[in-house]
């Protein structure tokens, strides 16, 4: 029978994890659905479970300022609803959460769960790629921090060790002046993405100084390519427009979607490129 641990604090949670290899449980909206069983029976999980959703150390949102704006540290067990209620949550992340699932899910589900699940269709994770988020991990040998693109290593795979927990997600100051979020799904609520585009840019004095483009559900992991972005930076919007055909060709190489029950590869590729084009032509001005 599955063992359930409810540690009193993070230290005990890490100890349980190190000693038993227990699976972390936050909102349970991925884990308990994946292991669901018949009504009236226990879920089918072959390892112990360590609940972390209640841990005070993981339930905080901290704001620290450096000259360029507020930096946000989001505790691993902060729910989506709490992020929507917080005034500092960047608009792009907010937009992705508003279209994620429904209120009953958002009241329990977490960002940390979304990234640890490491689905290429994870909506909040896609926004975190565009926002340059970093993932903070704690384990027996201390804490470490990884950019989200290094934390997620493949579909359903992450750099999390068996004795570690995600403790927080760090967001640098969001200085973007343009944000663009598009989720293509079958219906508004409770539908997983067929594909999604999270993009932001900073335009100062008619120059695109920074740009971040993340595409979800079109490859084994969320796509973000800094080389392509680099070629678009420090240009005026009208110069940038000239580079669009070449840029789309570069993205076409990276976008390698699959057919599944939600959509076809062809539709995903076509639509993803159309959305990138829309962002580059209509939003950046």
């Amino acid at each position: 029978m599955v063992t359930f641990h409810r540690p009193v604090d993070l230290a005990e949670a890490l100890q349980v994890r190190a000693e038993t290899g227990a699976i972390p449980l936050a909102g349970g909206t991925d884990l308990l659905v994946r292991h669901r069983n018949w009504a009236g029976t226990l879920p089918r999980i072959d390892k112990p479970v360590v609940y972390v959703g209640h841990l005070q150390e993981l339930r905080r949102i901290d704001i620290s300022g450096n000259g360029s704006g507020p930096q946000m540290t989001i505790g691993a067990s902060v729910t989506y609803s709490e992020l929507l209620d917080h005034p500092t949550t960047p608009q792009l992340l907010r937009d992705s959460i508003i279209e994620l699932a429904a209120p009953g899910l958002r009241n329990v589900a977490t960002l940390a769960g979304n990234i640890c699940n490491a689905s290429p269709a994870a909506d909040a994770a896609c926004a975190l790629y565009a926002l340059d988020a970093e993932v903070e991990l704690a384990g027996p040998s201390g804490r470490r921090r990884l950019p989200i693109a290094e934390f997620i290593t493949g579909p359903g795979r992450t750099a999390l060790n068996n004795d570690e927990l995600v403790t927080a997600i760090h967001l640098p100051p969001d200085n973007s002046t343009v944000k663009f979020y598009k989720k293509v799904g079958t219906r508004r609520a409770n539908a997983l993405s067929k594909l999604s585009l999270c993009a932001c840019a900073r335009i100062v004095d008619r120059t695109v100084t920074e740009i971040g483009i993340a595409v979800g559900a079109v490859a084994p992991t969320i796509v973000r390519d800094r080389d392509i972005e680099h070629h678009l930076q420090n240009t005026a919007p009208e110069q940038l427009a000239l580079r669009i055909p070449q840029t789309l060709q570069q993205y076409a190489e990276l976008i390698r979607p699959i057919d599944d029950q939600r959509s076809t590869a062809e539709y995903r590729k076509h639509t993803a490129l159309a959305l990138i084009e829309q962002f580059l032509t209509h939003e950046l001005r």
């Binding site: 959703g53 209640h54 009241n107 409770n190």
Partner: protein, 157 residues
Amino acid sequence: MREIRFTLNGREVSTSAHPMARLIDVLRDEFRMTGVKEGCGEGECGACSILKDGRIVNSCILAVGMIEGAVLETPEGIAATDRGRAINAGYAEAGAVQCGFCMTGMAVATEALLRQNPAPDEHQIRTAISGNLCRCTGYAMIVDGIKRAAIKGSGLW
């Protein structure tokens, strides 16, 4: 095994259920809260909605060990209040009930919404019930019922 304590419709209760048991099973089988319905069993339909610390959650994808110390309200608890009666009256007046299977979950979503926002607009109502599926009504009458409930219960939230 250690008892799990929580508050259920204003009463302090405890259960000796396995902490990984589904909350919906404990509420229905042990506490006889059969207003909590099982539709999909995977978080998509909202039939099993309850309030946890004042917020709507799906009891089919919560383990009972996760709600230790929480304040829970089921459709039964809500129906017994003046607000619950206003919700029922609003739905009845709008003719919003057909087979009725989704209704307890809809009432919980309505209570959760009106607590946060006693005068919601159409968009806010549709967002609030976006996790509650109804196979019968097409939602228009439900939205109307919620508007009527907000007026009938005006001042209660």
